[in-house]
Subunit: 243 residues, 2 copies
DNA sequence: GGTTGAGGACTTATCTGATATGTGCGATGG
DNA sequence: CCATCGCACATATCAGATAAGTCCTCAACC
């Protein structure tokens, strides 16, 4: 049996996807610029408009194209949407993935903090101050968590490494949502807001002092604490029942 | 201007995507099981088959569905495809992202190595041995690099953290390809294969000894070396011209 | 002159219906 | 018992048509 289970000929949609990728990556087009219309693409590639649409849809899901009704498809600016989608989906599939994700955050954000302490621009430091004080002004848990996520995002951005920044953004937001959903009601949060503020304050201070090692250690402690809280919630969630 | 740029009514495709997500996440379906056929979905959702197809295509691109000609769409097993796509696209857009990615690897793989030293099962250790000896048997640069990537993947898997495993897999493969493409010809690789084998040997030995700190340090040194090589290649590629 | 708003060209969103092709199961026959 | 051939089902792709959003133009208006 030399029978291949793979189709002997690449599907047309797959061909369209490759063609579009070449346009995007090698076509000398910058983010924000427009591709030819679906109709034109269909003609030049010798397929129906429908097939072009499926390809465009795929590239859109990958975060490479921006599609809006009435406008030609545009090259997307690099963004973290595909990552967010991936992490969000992982958490929806199994909330226990929170524990796996926190390990990734631990690795990534500690390193990001080191880099931030070494390379942060003064502008970035200002943003960090702002994010921190926003946390202090939050009065309810909802907005506090939101400000918390923002602090981490700003810190990651201060590392100067966009890839790290994307990953942190993409992980923190779905984690926060997932946490909120599961914690709704019982705010048996191991630590108080003040504890958490202290932890962030230490991080901020060390970054400002350009103390890379201290900043990294402060971030590590913060995330280890968070991990402990998370473990507590995931093991004894008692009466969580379904949603 | 209270004018919303967003369409007042969610597009039908978006509705289909949400509906499918609910089937996938909350429908009590396990990976490998099948969704209703496009036709049935179209009927129950009150849209045309075409619209269903677009939604299915989107979820496929996100790695949540597996679509094959002649068979109903199946729930996909969790996989790293979306991550691979993201990193591959980032590198195609700008090869300088290699330097950003190596930082992520540094953070992630060092942590993964720590976890592996602490938690690796004996089976995982055996796989690691095997991957290491495969590296030693490689005679050309191509297969050596391939075995190298495999070693890192196996090590990440040994951490017991699937999320880390996915990320490492998704980053290492595109990085290798990108590196190969840019190095084609001048194998002015800073280190020899023997150097690299030594670095891996140190990692392996420390993991076997359950020496978490030592293993992490060995991995860190390995990746710092790799980063240096990478920097050398990206800064003095001489005739790259433009920005 | 500058601003506003209607008109029209262009483009995507979605529907309908039809054909081609791959999958899988069960009947058929050795 | 088992290999094989149909047939029902399902996806892949095409064609043509209508609805709806976007953007530029140009004229009317203040």
């Amino acid at each position: 049996m030399d029978n291949e289970k793979a189709p002997r000929t690449e599907s047309r949609t797959a061909g369209v996807v490759r063609h579009l990728e070449e346009l995007i990556f090698g076509g000398g087009l910058e983010p924000g610029q427009f591709l030819p219309s679906e109709g034109e693409l269909a003609t030049t590639m010798g397929v129906s408009r429908l097939t072009v649409r499926e390809g465009v849809r795929t590239l859109q899901a990958r975060g490479l194209l921006e599609v809006r009704h009435g406008r030609r498809p545009a090259i997307a600016h690099p963004n973290a949407d595909p990552l967010s989608g991936f992490f969000a989906a992982s958490l929806r599939r199994d909330p226990r993935n929170l524990l796996e994700l926190i390990e990734v955050r631990l690795a990534l954000e500690v390193h990001a903090t080191t880099l931030a302490a070494q390379h942060a621009t003064s502008t970035a430091l200002t943003s960090l101050d702002l994010a921190f004080s926003t946390m202090g002004q939050a009065d309810d848990e909802e907005s506090f968590n939101q400000a918390d996520v923002r602090f981490h995002a700003v810190l990651a951005a201060a590392s100067g490494n966009q890839m790290i920044s994307f990953l942190v953004e993409a992980m923190d937001e779905p984690m926060r949502q997932s946490r909120l959903r599961s914690l709704r009601g019982h705010l048996a949060r191991g630590r108080t807001m003040d504890d958490i503020m202290d932890e962030h304050a230490r991080i901020l201070a060390a970054v400002r002092d350009r103390d890379a090692r201290g900043a990294a250690e402060a971030m590590r402690e913060h995330l280890v604490q968070t991990r402990m809280d998370l473990r507590a919630f995931l093991t004894l969630p008692t009466s969580d029942a379904d949603d």
